[in-house]
């Protein structure tokens, strides 16, 4: 199996490590890291560095009864961990979803155009105006031309596409922003595309068809 070629930058990796990303971005990072040994290695390196920094630090004294409290707490029975099972919608049967997406609530899909569906992902604490969804595009189609306000992340799950920056396959992490004018990704190969998309701001459609699609797509 080939590993991804397109990766998030250091700054995103760092913000992911320290938990500073909004839920959609964090989900995109987690999904990418799951298939990317390179970024997993970087994240582990952050833990190794953090451990070393922790080791090096002079402690701040704990309160007098801290050890007694600690020794008492380990005697208490552990509350059962609540494992919430998330029901997977029927339309995702047969898709080999990464672990990161098995734990999130995926709502029903809607058809944005013939051959194009989108399924919103519900994330607690997602900032207003941001959107996270799964998108499937039938092979051979071209996405509506659009520009971005704010960043848009795409993590490929299945299939391949190409845009002005390069070719993308499973696991690849693609980020677009305002500087990517008139972004027109097109699908490659015989497989339908499935990807995770995170938008920090609304997409601005450039073509008539995209304007027509907008109310359906909720973008």
């Amino acid at each position: 199996m080939s590993t991804p070629n397109h990766h998030p930058g250091e700054d995103l990796l760092w913000d992911y490590h320290r938990g500073a990303l909004a839920p959609g971005m964090a989900l995109a990072m987690q999904t990418h890291a799951e298939t990317c040994p390179h970024c997993r290695g970087d994240l582990r390196l952050f833990d190794i560095m953090g451990g070393a920094m922790l080791e090096e630090l002079d402690g701040v004294a704990m309160s007098n009864n801290a050890l007694d409290l600690a020794l008492a707490r380990i005697e208490r029975p552990e509350a059962d961990e609540v494992v919430e099972t998330v029901r997977r919608p029927a339309f995702l049967e047969g898709f080999d979803l990464p672990e990161s997406l098995k734990a999130v609530k995926i709502k029903n899909r809607h058809w944005a155009a013939p051959g194009v569906w989108m399924a919103p992902i519900e994330l607690e604490g997602a900032p207003k105006g941001s959107k996270t969804y799964l998108m499937s595009v039938k092979s051979g189609l071209q996405m509506p031309e659009h520009t971005h306000r704010g960043r848009e992340i795409t993590v490929m799950l299945h299939g391949r596409y190409r845009d002005h920056k390069g070719r993308y396959g499973p696991g690849d992490f693609a980020m677009c922003d305002e500087s990517d004018q008139n972004h027109t990704p097109s699908m490659e190969g015989d497989d339908d595309c499935l990807c995770l998309v995170v938008q920090e701001g609304p997409i601005v459609p450039q073509s008539l068809i995209a304007w027509i699609l907008q109310p359906f797509a909720g973008i």
């Binding site: 250091e10 700054d11 760092w14 938990g19 040994p37 953090g50 070393a52 630090l57 600690a70």
Partner: protein, 193 residues
Amino acid sequence: MKDDSLGPVITTPEALIARIAQSRDRQAYAQLFTRFAPKLKAFVMGQGMNAQEAEDLAQDVLLKVWRKAEMFDASKATAVTWIYSIARNLRIDAARKAKRTRELPEDLWQSEPPRPADQQLADSQSVHTINGLMETLPEEQKTILRLSFYEDLSHGDIAAALALPLGTVKSRLRLAMTRLKTAMAALVPGDRV
């Protein structure tokens, strides 16, 4: 309590965790707590928690070490790396007031099926020397690491704090990471980092 003749002086935190995993050794836990709780408290206070929150977090981290001790794999990580990763997760949870801990890659250090193409990041032997390796980094890179880890700043914040371009901050961090990886790889012949 068990007898003290086992000699706490030479006991590594890895051995303490192993004793907890094998026999729920409370004396080992007390030693581990005494060694790491104050450091954890200091660490998260530097990142902005108040003394009480920091103390609670240190308690929770070590409680988790007690409960998950059998999941610790010394061939994958040192004890301090593992403890740090638990602290990181709990701190983020606390910040989000989230009920669930699933979103974050907590299991980064738990067993993972071997993948041939995977980067084998340093086994615990090489990790032991990571402090020594970090000492060898140029001061300008160490400064970035200190601001990153001890003050929990983004690269944008660090750029502002040091009046440097963002690209310089990112590239210094990348240089430090590459240097550490290379040095760690050299310590473990045959291990790709």
